[in-house]
């Protein structure tokens, strides 16, 4: 009996091919978008994680501002109000070179291996005589930074503490800038002078390529010694952050405690009113993955709505089909089909439609996920394929029940009389 219902249902699907195809389209788009969006979310999450773990697992970052404001300045809390009654000037949260030097004190911070002061400079234009390039990211720092940040040069040399001390105008350029300014593979830029906001700097090395993360090109960057930058690019600006390297991965938490103690002592703060934040790469990693997984779930949920809409499309068409085929239902009932037979036929027809839409959607979704968009490589998860397809079938079943029972409860004489 089941095989008969299946045959009748298949005939129903193939009887009006255009309409069946259009009905499937709804489910197809739903399933494909669930798969593609979840895959894009996964891809984004993987690429962010990869970028963060390339920073190394034993680095810490000290940034100005309390944890709640994540470095964008200090929010005045009740505790602040108590400590600094209104009318007294609240010192803006800053980090200075002296802070960085204090962290390098081996006696106070035995778990700290290296410290580098960092100033991020926006809006640097690098130019040669003929071309100019607006740099996405410029870092002014000390020689220790390169080791802490896992940065190496593919060509030329890195700068040293001697360069820093001599306040020499040298610069390391990312491969993108090298190619842009020198043409070809960019190697011609070594030992050439380029202008940074009008001041000549000598290119001593090309940084190892890091690739792109999403829409951001990680190779569009410069690294200069802090002293030279202070002289010619930023003046004596506050530090953007201090990069700290722990002696080993196991020492990260000890290093964090020592950094906090040293800075608290210098700044007369405690855990409750601290005006700086210490972030470890592990904490950044977990924060980033919680953000990206939320993003993935959200994208999936949005796509699931379109799948639901596709299901309603199936129900609409099935209702139209039932009305259109009232007479056929009457004939079938007259010559011996019972309720179960009719329900099965129309339910299977709805499930067939959504299944076929589901299969096409999986094919399309997996296919689309292979295309690299904006540097993301989408990662298709087997779970999303199974869930999307299962959901499509469930949608067909659920939205098929109403039309099918409506078909089955038609009285044969009414159905036969239907024109």
């Amino acid at each position: 009996m089941l095989s008969e219902s299946l045959r009748f249902a298949w005939r129903g699907v193939t009887a009006n091919k255009v309409r069946s195809a259009l009905t499937m389209l709804g489910v197809l788009i739903g399933v494909a978008s669930v798969i593609v969006l979840v895959a894009a979310g996964n891809g984004a999450s993987k690429s962010v994680n990869a970028t963060l773990s390339s920073l190394g697992t034993n680095t810490l970052t000290v940034s100005p501002g309390a944890a709640t404001t994540t470095g964008f300045g200090r929010v005045r809390t009740n505790q602040d109000a108590a400590a600094n009654p209104i009318g007294t000037l609240t010192r803006p949260a800053t980090l200075s070179l002296a802070d960085a030097d204090a962290l390098g004190d081996a006696a106070a911070g035995p778990a700290v291996a290296a410290v580098a002061a960092v100033i991020n400079i926006n809006s640097v234009v690098a130019s040669t005589g003929s071309t100019s390039h607006t740099v996405a990211s410029t870092v002014a720092t000390t020689a220790e930074y390169l080791a802490i940040a896992n940065d190496t040069v593919s060509l030329g040399r890195t700068f040293t503490t001697a360069d820093d001390a001599a306040r020499s105008r040298v610069v390391l350029v990312g491969p993108t800038i090298a190619r842009d300014l020198a043409g070809g593979d960019g190697s011609g830029i070594i030992n050439q002078q380029i202008q940074l906001n009008g001041t000549p700097f000598t290119v001593i090395g090309i940084l190892q390529a890091k690739g792109t993360t999403g829409a951001r090109d990680s190779d569009d960057r410069l690294i200069t010694p802090l002293t030279a930058a202070q002289d010619h690019l930023v003046g004596y600006a506050d530090l953007s952050s201090i990069a700290v390297q722990a002696r080993s991965t196991d020492d990260v938490e000890a290093a964090r405690a020592q950094v906090e103690t040293i800075l608290d002592n210098r700044r007369h703060t405690t855990a409750t009113n601290r005006d700086f934040t210490v972030t470890t790469s592990a904490s950044m990693l977990s924060a980033a993955s919680s953000i990206t997984s939320t993003l993935t779930v959200m994208l999936g949920a949005i796509a699931a709505i379109s799948l639901l809409v596709g299901g309603i499309g199936v129900m609409n068409i099935m209702l139209v089909t039932v009305t259109e085929r009232t007479r056929e239902i009457g004939i079938r009932k007259a010559i011996g089909a019972d309720k179960t037979g009719i329900v099965m036929q129309f339910l299977i027809e709805a499930v067939l439609l959504s299944c076929m839409g589901g299969v096409a959607g999986v094919t399309l979704g997996v296919g689309l996920a292979q295309i690299e968009i904006a540097g993301f490589h989408a990662v298709v998860s087997a779970g999303s394929v199974i869930v999307a397809f299962g959901f499509a079938v469930a949608v067909g079943l659920f939205f098929g029940i109403y039309p099918a029972t409506r078909a089955a409860s038609l009285r044969p004489i009414d159905a036969l009389r239907h024109e």
Partner: protein, 245 residues
């Protein structure tokens, strides 16, 4: 003596309520024996369609009893009625009621499919029935590719394929031209002479003339009951032909 195919007593069907109440069928007693060929005639509104629906187990009477082939069907649930219709009755409708976009063969197989007959057996019997109505060369044609007369013959093949106790035809020639009408009526004559029980609802004298027994209905009652040929003989047209030759 076998039990009659149809045994109806005190059959009444009401439509509407109170002031708008209509007695479509009013206290009818009727018995149709095995092998009979009965035409039920009447103008529209006489109750013959209601009669057909009740006899065909498509509708339930308001009161009275109806035994079909010895089974009391007046009180059966929907599922059982489906089974009864499938096994006891072969329907032929005025507008053929074949399933569109489906071959003649598959249309004829349909009652057997619902009866749970295996695929191969079903195919064999459907081909046999279509051969019986002279359509052995039209097995794969869909209704749209067949003439009205051919479609009605497919419908008759579908009605006889399950060997039901009764063929129930509702205005079987109402949508046919005169040539096709003759074809269909000749087929009915043959089926009758083979001993099948036929009940034909019609308003055409041409159809009624072929039956062994003619019932005329008016206002929900049987007005006259005329026997044109003996129950166990051939139908009148065939016996005439036999006498002539």
């Amino acid at each position: 003596m076998k039990s009659p195919v149809i045994a109806v007593s005190g059959l009444t069907k009401l439509y509407g309520r109170e002031e708008t109440e209509v007695r479509a069928v009013d206290q009818i007693d009727l018995q149709v024996d095995v092998g009979d060929y009965v035409a039920i005639m009447g103008a529209s509104g006489s109750g013959k369609s209601t009669m057909m629906n009740i006899i065909g187990c498509l509708d339930a009477p308001t009161s009275g009893t109806y035994r079909l082939d010895g089974i009391d069907v007046a009180t059966l649930p929907d599922r059982e009625l489906s089974r009864i219709r499938n096994q006891k009755i072969g329907f032929v409708f005025q507008n053929f009621n074949l399933i569109a976009r489906t071959s003649a063969l598959e249309n004829v197989e349909l009652p057997l499919a619902y009866a749970g007959v295996g695929r191969r057996e079903r195919r064999r019997r459907a081909v046999e029935a279509l051969t019986r109505v002279g359509l052995e060369k039209r097995l794969t044609h869909t209704p749209a590719q067949l003439s009205g007369g051919q479609q009605q013959r497919v419908a008759i093949a579908r009605a006889i394929v399950g060997s039901p106790v009764m063929l129930l035809a509702d205005e079987p020639t109402g949508a046919l031209d005169s040539t096709s009408t003759t074809e269909v009526l000749d087929l009915f004559d043959q089926l009758s002479s083979e001993g099948r029980t036929l009940v034909v609802i019609t308003h055409e004298d041409e159809v009624a003339d072929r039956a062994k027994r003619v019932l005329r209905m008016r206002d929900g009652r049987i007005d006259s009951d005329l026997r044109q040929a003996p129950l166990d003989g051939p139908p009148p047209r065939l016996s005439l032909r036999r006498e002539a030759s």
